[in-house]
Symmetry: D2
Subunit: 215 residues, 4 copies
């Protein structure tokens, strides 16, 4: 039975992924903020003493509040540098991914189309995407697939915080709706269930045709 | 029962997609070159008189032989302009995709990292990817998802023609192997089977971590 | 004295480039539509019998009228396939660029952010950008630099045709104005004047901070 | 007379930029590591107490030694997070760029094609490129152009540290040579000299046709 660790697994997209993986009989550890707080490197190190290996790893964490550039403090930068970047680096430096495994990064569509309200998220998620891309080539040697999923606006509590009038906002989207967390959960599930391994080193925008760049 | 048309459905990647779709009880028309030759616009128009609508459409066609730029003739350009670009445009101008359907384009990783031996393919597949991206926003209104899959080197007869010494070549790839057509077939199948719709307007490189650009 | 050929050199961006090159004492042939009509391959071949070599080549041509996908005819596709793609290919197959020379392609920002009204332009300009990228590596061996300039909205007659209310439109742009053709002319001039050669194989968006993708 | 601040202005690319700007009569402050060490936020804050405004700002700093991912320490991450990212953010939060000015970021071609030996540089330079892109839209309102130059291998002391056998390495490059720092200096000079403003919000790869992605 494959073992899976889902960071941020107790709510939103992470929760959907956890449930999807359970439905295919993975042994899922759905980590909550009590289990690991990636903004706190000691918490990360503590987690790594308990969780030393896995078959499937989902790197997922909430983002910061919307803030204008001029309002971002040095403490904000440092906190989210840990939460969105350095915590994940420490994890990948330590944890063993078993041969034939999978690592999914849940980043954001803002890495490709950066957003002035989500500047911290745009910056550090892009930074980690660079690390993840580089590492995908090493992991490939052990048949471990690395897939970066970059969601657009998904129907989660976080989105409700970010967008004031969701009913109006929805109408501006090509599909007239937000994405559902289950779509991402099911997408990941089906890749694993079907043992699709050659999909690796790729960033997959998951945004209902909303982005405007070609590729 | 969902209806699917798979162009180039009798061999290689197209055949794998056809079989995957049959396994989830789609009613598949696996078009061979006898049914439709996209390099011949009359053949395309004839096909469109018979096939007027579908739930799922797979735009897939083989590419040209490797040729250096200086050797490409005007006839080569025109033939492959039809085969890789214009034939697909005529199809999308005419055929009805039923609401809630899917269109998959099988392009190539050369659209993003163009290849001096596959210059025709790099050019016209990129051109059609532009059209496909634009149309994804219109199709989104009818809940039709448009997904561009850009395969790297896949284990097909065509790849055996292009690469002289596959055993040596394999070793240069991050995963030490070519992709299998079944991986693409299963990938498409699982998106449809799980009714994942919010994945649209995206180009998904499918190359075993071989590409070098970030996203 | 360096020899320059500027296609579409009698108006708009091409005219500005011609004038900029004259100001640094290039011997400029500013080709008008009477000299070469790239939508007509016989015209292209005739031009190539007269103009066999150059130091500097500017590949520049107007685009098609705005048209919705459903309205584009087979003749439209074929005409603009010649004008925006095949004519330029024939030129680069035949003309000799002298060692140490330059080729500039004036494409469009729609190659990266395709536009539903400019679908033909998005498609074929992207296709030629692929060819141009591939060739840049060969030309590099002879110290010939290939630079793809992708303008956004520039203050030309063509833009006035495309945009109904330019005064309103301007206000939606980050700089509150269109680009001036002279900015592109001067940009090209200064690269040549300063013998900057290592800038090659690159697409330079020239759009006053209007695009939204990161790179 | 325009005022320019060039960070890392005492050697390599920064020195060439300083000299180029002096040649067009800018009043250049070529900051050395003694003036400002961006890896030390106190040094950055001290610098900002002295230098409160400028017309032209060149954000430029050396990168870290080559290191494999597994060897990078927490201190390395934190140091270079300051040096390549946070120091620059603090500067842009505080310093006034005068209307009509320019900001150039000297990043690296690794932001687009990340490099396993330059993983720190790939990550943090990409992160700052996101910030810079977002800010370019605000600066545009004051006619300030933001240009991200992403050099490939340039003939500097740093490159000699990174590449063991430069004579062998050169031969693998399309132009058979490294770029010269003067090419970048002259490129920047000519943009300023010619008052080219509409070039903004763009990343310009400067690598002698070496990169392989289309755009």
């Amino acid at each position: 039975m494959a073992k899976a660790i889902v960071l941020g697994g107790s709510r939103g997209i992470g929760k959907s992924i956890s449930e999807s993986l359970k439905s295919i009989n993975c042994q899922v550890f759905a980590a909550s903020k009590e289990d690991i707080d990636t903004s706190n490197l000691n918490s990360v190190k503590h987690f790594l003493q308990i969780h030393k290996e896995t078959d499937i790893l989902i790197l997922n964490t909430g983002g910061p509040q919307a803030k204008k550039f001029s309002e971002i403090t040095e403490d904000d930068w440092k906190k989210y540098h840990n939460q969105l970047f350095l915590g994940f680096c420490l994890i990948l430096q330590k944890i063993k991914i078993n041969d034939g495994g999978y690592i999914f990064l849940i980043s954001s569509s803002v890495i490709k189309e950066p957003n002035s309200n989500l500047i911290i998220s745009s910056a550090y998620r892009a930074a980690f995407s660079e690390v993840f891309k580089i590492l995908s080539k090493n992991y490939a040697k052990k048949n471990i697939s690395c897939i970066n999923i970059a969601p657009g606006m998904i129907n989660t509590d976080r989105t409700k915080e970010l967008v004031k009038n969701i009913d109006e906002y929805r109408k501006t989207l090509p599909m007239g709706r937000l994405g559902e967390p289950e779509e991402i959960g099911n997408f990941i599930k089906s890749i694993i269930e079907n043992k699709i391994k050659y999909l690796s080193g790729v960033t997959i925008n998951f945004d209902g045709a909303n982005s405007n760049y070609i590729f």
